[in-house]
Amino acid sequence: MRRILSVLMENEPGALSRVVGLFSQRGYNIESLNVAPTTDNTLSRLTLTTTGDDLKIEQITKHLNKIVDVVKVVDLTEGAHVERDMLLVKVRAEGAQRDEVKRTTDIFRGQIIDVGPATYIVQLTGPIDKLDSFLSALGEAEILEVVRSGVAGIARGEKVLTI
């Protein structure tokens, strides 16, 4: 099963490599990884998606908690939550495709954020399956480059992940 783990960790040099190292060292896989500072500049927040049965996820969570730089770990998929991934895609936009790409982008409520003589850059935010379907909906259009932020997630309602 796919899980989204949110990790609060000390904003220390080497902290990220300890988390990533744990996954390679113990043979766990990381599907996506997203790290950024928080409003508290001593902490950074990391969101990672991984897959595994309950036992494996339990071990991953325990081992993450064991890392001295890690302050807190939450499995967002255990409760109601919101998740977003951001996609930037550069597509060939010439001739008939120029209108077609625009139409598809509108349907998915994406934005064209750069317009070149023969290319568009489209920005789209949403859960990963929405981004996946957008990419397949581009159909005929030639995709030149894709970049995604990796999933960022947050629990719904009153629940907050802070220290």
Binding site: M9, E10, P13, G14, S17, R18, G21, Q25, L55, E58, Q59, K62, H63, N65, K66, V68, D69, V70, V71, I163
Partner: protein, 582 residues
């Protein structure tokens, strides 16, 4: 406030921590620190002959005393040489602080002379590591390093210090913190009371119980509590290789070691048990044999300070996260309470008597200490050599070992009645551990007898430490069970590769160990005759202020038994000799 350079701060902080010995080796990036050591002349430094030996010596010191071992090495090759010893300590959860010199801050990342990314290469084998970035941080980092190394599940911590931050002319305020608190590091100090209650109930309702105790009981100072609990319940106890001494080996309730080379009665009792109380043990693959066949009828209670050890290998019925001491106290109190409560839960006395009868039958059939289980030969038998060592030292010695058959014979035949006396590398299985570890112990406890049981293969991995022993006058006794083979490798080749001895022999090229010992200023003794074994052993230990190298020629073709049947065997499936199996 006092102003100190970074180098002086390191030495002062070690002094403030109460460090008794630094085990180390100098080099460019550590020279400011070495100069501070010279000037302060406070904490004694032991100059080893190879950085690996510094880590093992610090490790042996830590295992025997319970205090953290301290290592100081230079950058690059000094740091990489320390890696094997750090990994050894990590696998066995031993508290250690390793300070490594690093190239100057502004050179980091430039492939500078003797630069290696020490924090990077040690990352998977440390509990934590620090790269010092400002001299002012040195006192608090060292404080944290000791705190992390010694609390919770102990382990090695690396502190990497760029040379410029130890410069004698750059001085800063020094104050050693009295305490430390880290929001991201708070090991458990108490088990969950509801779980403890459940555990007590399960234990009191057991009909075929076994207590399976490991290295955590020794590291966590839980031996006495465990022994009391086991005696109160009259339940059988088995120890892992790392747990030997956690329960007195000469006690009737002791079943011996369990696992791959464990005692028949211990493995049989585990397999047929209905309740297992696992304390400070981690269900290692050398214990469980095939996991899916592990103790099919048993409910498992698991006490461990590290939540990640629990349910890692086998599912557990009652997990208890906490240190052995507080958890065993709580459990003991719960048991008393439940026994005196209105329901008066009591162990089923009849069932326990039957269980002991069964165990005694196993003991009588194939028990390790029941009569003589191994053959005779013209050579000295390795088992007899260990028994002679046991007798010559009245079972009181600190015994270190290397890795191989000799290690297993020592584990089986030296009956350890006290914790911290049996010092060996279990998790990593590091040949070369024994001699430097013995050195560290003898320095800590000059009045104790310290013996290193080794093989002619292992001893050559850190033989250079005979020189360190000469320099600091460290009169350990080396008991070399010389079988002329990498014996443990040969045993596997006998059993699984039709005795094709691929690269496991070297008889014609072995040194004359007697002369070698003498070359370093020590005493060497060659023992070939059975009749000489006991007198020689006594003579060696009578030379209290001499390092004696006992080169004992033992039967080259002996195997270690019992041995788990693999693959696909359960705990009860064992080879009992070259021809018999369960």
């Amino acid at each position: 406030m006092e102003q100190l350079s970074g180098g002086d701060m390191i030495v002062r902080a070690l002094e403030d921590e109460g460090v008794e010995y630094i085990f180390g080796y100098p080099g460019g990036a550590a020279l400011h620190i070495y100069d501070s050591i010279f000037k302060a002349n406070s904490v004694p430094h032991i100059l080893v002959r190879h950085e690996q030996a510094a880590t093992h010596a610090a490790d042996g010191y830590a295992r025997a005393t319970g205090k953290p071992g301290v290592v100081l090495v230079t950058s690059g090759p000094g740091a990489t040489n320390a890696i094997t010893g750090i990994a050894t300590a990590y696998m066995d959860s031993i508290p250690m602080v390793v300070i490594s010199g690093q190239v100057q801050s502004h050179l980091i990342g430039e492939d500078a002379f003797q630069e290696t990314d020490m924090v990077g290469i040690s990352r998977p084998i440390v509990k934590h590591s620090f790269m010092v970035q400002r001299t002012e941080d040195i006192p608090s980092i060292i404080k944290k390093a000791f705190h992390i190394a010694t609390t919770g599940r102990p382990g090695p911590v690396v502190v990497d210090v760029p040379k410029d931050l130890t410069h004698p002319e750059h001085k800063f305020d020094y104050e050693y913190p009295e305490s430390v608190s880290m929001r991201s590091y708070q090991p458990s100090t108490r088990g969950h009371s509801g779980q403890v209650r459940k555990a007590a109930r399960l234990l009191l309702n057991a009909k075929r119980p076994v207590i399976y105790a490991g290295g955590g009981v020794i590291q966590g100072e839980g031996s006495e509590l465990l022994t009391q609990l086991a005696r109160k319940l009259n339940y059988p106890v088995t120890n892992t290789l790392m747990g030997l001494g956690a329960y007195p080996a000469t006690d009737r309730q002791f079943l011996g070691m369990l696992g791959m080379h464990g005692f028949y009665e211990a493995n049989m009792a585990m397999h047929h048990s209905d309740v297992i109380l696992a304390v400070g043990a981690r269900f290692d693959d050398r214990v469980t044999n095939t996991v899916s066949k592990f103790c099919p009828g048993a409910k498992i209670i698991h006490i461990d300070v590290d939540p990640a050890s629990i349910a890692k290998i086998v599912p557990v019925d009652v997990p208890i996260v906490g240190p052995v001491t507080t958890v065993l106290k709580d459990l003991d109190a719960q048991i008393d309470q439940q026994r005196s409560s209105s329901e008066r839960t009591m162990p089923d006395a009849e069932a326990i008597v039957d269980w002991w009868r069964q165990i005694d039958n196993w003991r009588a059939a194939h028990g390790l200490w029941h009569g003589r289980r191994y053959g005779e030969s013209d050579f000295i038998m390795p088992q007899d050599a260990i028994t002679a060592l046991y007798e010559a030292t009245n079972g009181e010695a600190y015994v270190t070992s290397d890795v191989g058959q000799h290690q297993m014979f020592a584990a089986q035949y030296y009956k350890f009645d006290y914790p911290r006396r049996w010092i060996n590398s279990g998790g990593l299985g590091t040949m070369g551990f024994g001699l430097p570890a013995a050195m560290g112990i003898k320095l800590a406890m000059p009045d104790a007898e310290v013996a290193c049981v080794t093989g002619e293969g292992s001893i050559q991995m850190n033989i250079q430490e005979l020189s360190t022993c000469a320099q600091y006058d460290v009169p350990v006794k080396i008991v070399n069970l010389r079988n002329n083979y990498l014996g443990m490798v040969k045993q596997w080749q006998d059993m699984q590769y039709d005795s094709r001895y691929s690269e496991s022999h070297y008889a014609s090229s072995l040194p004359d160990f007697v002369k070698l010992a003498e070359a370093y200023g020590h005493v060497g003794m060659e023992i070939k005759d059975k009749a000489d074994l006991e007198p020689a052993m006594r003579e060696a230990f009578a030379m209290r202020d001499k390092l004696v190298f006992l080169d004992i020629f033992v039967e080259p073709h002996e195997h270690v038994y019992p041995m788990h049947v693999a693959p696909n065997g359960a705990m009860k499936d064992m080879w009992l000799s070259k021809t018999e199996r369960t």
